[in-house]
């Protein structure tokens, strides 16, 4: 058993001197290759943040494509953007923000041993998540009915360009907008579905009483992911829905 653990000033860990880790304490969650729970928790959190970094770049490629075409075909994109339902998009933003709140409350509940509150908040998070997907479904349905889904049946003829009466959007360019719209929101929705899966699992773990004030790392890690998906939407909403909304 190790008593002290020295790290250089260059070390990134805050553990300057770690005093006696008691190995007799029962820690089923401590994996064998970690020296102590602190190291395990820090590893998990760093791992998640790095994973989120890859997610940023993943969506970053899409944002890059979107911003370039939006600059190129500004008027056509504005017209296409006006055809999607900004009120639903705004509502969905609010729904996600609420779900982010319930996530932090769930973690707080775990920290302070409030099991019922934690379970309720986790359930509420999933409820908001499902609500988001439901509203998204309504939007997709509208687009489908209006023939705004790129493909053979796509049609965007004689759609006014906002602010330029008598000028119509180029359907091809609008199709690029909708292609990017569906890919971006679709991948985001996919992330939501994965998030719901994670939270179902977290709920089961919480139900089984696996989380304690000392150990609830999965909850924190899952929360990081959920908040990140929220952040992506925070950008998607103004970029896709609000290009040129003024009358």
């Amino acid at each position: 058993m190790r008593v002290t653990k020295r790290r250089s000033p260059l070390s990134d860990s805050n553990v300057a001197v770690q005093t006696s880790v008691h190995e007799d304490v029962h820690r089923p969650e401590l994996l064998h290759h970690f020296a102590d729970p602190q190291q395990q928790r820090n590893s998990a959190s760093l791992g998640m943040w790095i994973f989120l970094a890859t997610e940023v770049m993943f969506f970053g490629g899409l944002f890059c494509a979107y911003l370039i075409y939006r600059n190129w075909y500004y008027a056509d994109f504005a017209a296409a953007s006006k055809s999607i339902n900004a009120a639903l998009g705004g509502t969905n933003t609010a729904v996600l923000i609420c779900s982010s709140l319930t996530v932090v409350l769930a973690i707080w509940a775990a920290e302070t041993s409030r099991r019922a509150l934690m379970l309720a908040m986790l359930a509420l998070t999933m409820f908001f998540g499902l609500g988001f997907l439901g509203i998204k479904g309504v939007e997709y349905h509208d687009k489908f009915v209006e023939h705004h889904v790129p493909g053979p049946s796509f049609s965007f003829e004689h759609e006014q360009i906002p602010g330029h009466p008598g000028q119509y959007a180029n359907p091809q360019h609008a199709e690029i907008f909708f292609a990017l719209y569906f890919i971006m929101t679709g991948l985001h929705a996919l992330h939501m579905i994965v998030g719901l899966g994670i939270f179902t699992w977290l709920f089961v773990m919480a139900w089984k009483g696996r989380f304690t004030p000392e150990y609830h790392t999965p909850l924190e890690i899952g929360g990081l992911y959920w908040h990140f998906v929220d952040i992506i939407w925070i950008y998607l909403f103004p970029l896709l829905y609000l290009i040129d909304r003024h009358p």
């Binding site: 070390s11 190291q39 940023v56 993943f58 490629g61 494509a65 690029i176």
Partner: protein, 547 residues
């Protein structure tokens, strides 16, 4: 090099601890996963090599006579895709890195052993899909997937190949993620950043690229697949899209990807040169920092692949200027390795021969990179055999020499057996000669104007092509040899001592092959990296790791 003690035959180690297929396929031991990778990338190396052989045979004569034009196009496409995505990118990180990163920093395993196994399965899933695509029709877009050819014109298995690379990309991301977390969190007490072996620094830099670059190619391939499947117009000028956007996104990853291949190799070479010159690496800090700067600057230069593609002249100027920024740290490394030899005590064991080979080939590869970064010359040599020669000097001459050097260096540790030194030196020599014979003529071919991806060519280029094909044959033998004697040594090789090279580094302080958790007890590091002065002065008792 002098061997001191012979290891007892039947110590428990990671190889003999458990037997059976399940103990391998469900293992979370980073060393076993490294071996799983070793077997799978070797498989893909020979597939890619087979394609290369057919390409060179076809090019023996100016006329297209050995295979059909379509077949030829599939050959070079799949050669590129297999070699880049299924061999070179995972090669050193996933095999040597997986095996050595935890050991070098004194950890029991990577931070996320199960994710490590998952990443191998993702690699295998991607590889299987790629194999399926190749066996059921193949792909003919070039490994670069340029649009609109790939999205609207090719009638081959583009979607499958794209998805295969997409999946393999996640394997690469997870490996990089695991390394970064491990290097940050799992270092043994005393293993400070300034004491890390340069191999670790190189892998840290590589991981940064894997983490930040790979997602971009992933999303780009998603867009290509979606565009091809649903006839969107994102990259298709007929529908208002811009094919150059694809090239931007593609090269944003694929240029740094070259550094995913070469950086780990540089790490290997640093270890080998230090060991066989019995010296500290000259300018340790500069070599370490240059790894990081290559990783960062590598992201700033991608459009030098697009100087004649129709980008803005001003953007071309900026990218050309930035391209030289990555040449400086590369030059620093070469100078420092050379300076390390000065007043060393140099041994010529096989790993060192590979390291010498690396130095020479990487120097030529790097210097010819200057030609391509130079706007005026690139106009002429872009998309010719000059480019082919250049990147093979980097990716095969550089990355593969490092890989082979590393495999020889650490083979005693990995397998617990010694390889036959005489054969290994011979193989190193054959590879070096074969390589130069194959690829040096291609520089000249390129300057004379032979475009790449040509199935038939004007007769005046034949002499150089014949030379190149002859070289490829020699090279092929050079690659088969290590494969044969490594396999041979596993059964008939002499048992390896714990530290056959008398090398510095924690991985040599434990037994060969190591136990599942690498060290009997957690090592405490009190010395700098490459303390060869202490080792050679006989202060071996200062390295008290193995109980």
């Amino acid at each position: 090099m002098a061997t001191t003690t012979i290891a007892p035959a039947e110590r428990e180690n990671y190889l003999n601890k458990e037997y059976g297929l399940g103990s391998w396929l469900l293992t979370t031991d980073h060393k076993r996963i490294a071996l799983l990778y070793l077997i799978s990338i070797t498989f893909f190396f020979f597939i890619g090599g087979f394609f290369a052989l057919l390409i060179r045979l076809e090019l023996l004569t100016p006329a297209g006579d050995l295979v059909q034009a379509d077949t030829y196009n599939k050959l070079f496409t799949q050669h590129g895709q297999v070699m880049v995505f299924f061999f070179l990118i995972p090669s050193i990180p996933a095999v040597l890195g997986n095996f050595l990163v935890p050991m070098m920093i004194g950890a029991k395993d990577l931070a996320f052993p199960r994710i490590n196994l998952l990443s191998w399965y993702l690699y295998i899933a991607g590889g299987a899909l790629m194999m399926h695509a190749m066996l059921t029709g193949g792909v003919d877009t070039g490994w670069t997937f340029y649009t609109p050819f790939s999205t609207a014109f090719s009638n081959t298995k583009v979607i499958e190949a794209g998805l295969a690379i997409f999946i393999a990309g996640f394997s690469s991301i997870l490996t990089g993620l695991n390394f970064v977390v491990t290097i940050h969190r799992m270092r043994a007490p005393g293993m400070t950043w300034s004491r890390l072996p340069l191999f670790i620094w190189a892998h840290y830099a590589t991981s940064i690229i894997q983490i930040l670059g790979t997602p971009v190619i992933a999303i780009t391939l998603v867009l290509v697949v979606a565009e091809r499947a649903l006839h969107l117009g994102i990259f298709d000028p007929k529908l208002g899209g811009d094919p150059l956007l694809f090239q931007h996104l593609f090269w944003f990853y694929s240029h740094p990807a070259v550094y995913i291949m070469i950086l780990p190799s540089m790490g290997v070479v640093s270890e080998i040169i230090a060991c066989f010159a019995r010296k500290r690496i000259f300018g340790y800090t500069f070599v370490a920092i240059s790894s990081l700067s290559i990783a960062v600057f590598g992201f700033l230069v991608w459009a030098h692949h697009m100087f004649v593609a129709g980008i803005s002249v001003y953007a071309a100027l900026v990218f050309s200027l930035l391209s030289y920024s990555v040449a400086v740290p590369s030059a620093i490394k070469v100078f420092n390795w050379t300076a390390t030899l000065y007043k060393g005590s140099i041994h010529y064991d096989a790993p060192m021969l590979y390291a010498f080979g690396f130095l020479g080939l990487f120097t030529i590869g790097g210097l010819t990179g200057l030609f391509l970064a130079c706007l005026g010359v690139d106009m002429h040599v872009h998309d010719t055999y000059f480019v082919i020669a250049h990147f093979h000097y980097i990716m095969v001459g550089g990355a593969l020499m490092g890989y082979l050097g590393g495999m020889h260096f650490w083979w005693p540790k990995i397998s617990g057996k010694l390889y036959p030194e005489g054969w290994a030196r011979l193989a190193a020599l054959i590879v070096f000669i074969g390589f130069n014979l194959t690829f040096f003529p291609q520089f000249i071919l390129g300057y004379l104007g032979m475009p790449r991806r040509y199935y038939q060519y004007p007769p005046e280029f034949q002499v150089l092509n014949v030379l190149s094909t002859a070289g490829a044959t020699v090279l092929g033998i050079g690659y088969l040899l290590p494969m044969i004697y490594f396999l041979w040594s596993m059964r008939y090789g002499k048992p390896a001592p714990d530290n056959p090279w008398n090398a510095a580094g924690l991985e040599w302080q434990t037994q060969s092959p190591p136990t599942t958790f690498n060290f009997e007890k957690e090592p405490v590091v009190t010395w700098e990296a490459y303390n060869y002065d202490e080792i050679d002065a006989g202060h071996k008792e200062e390295v008290p790791v193995v109980g």
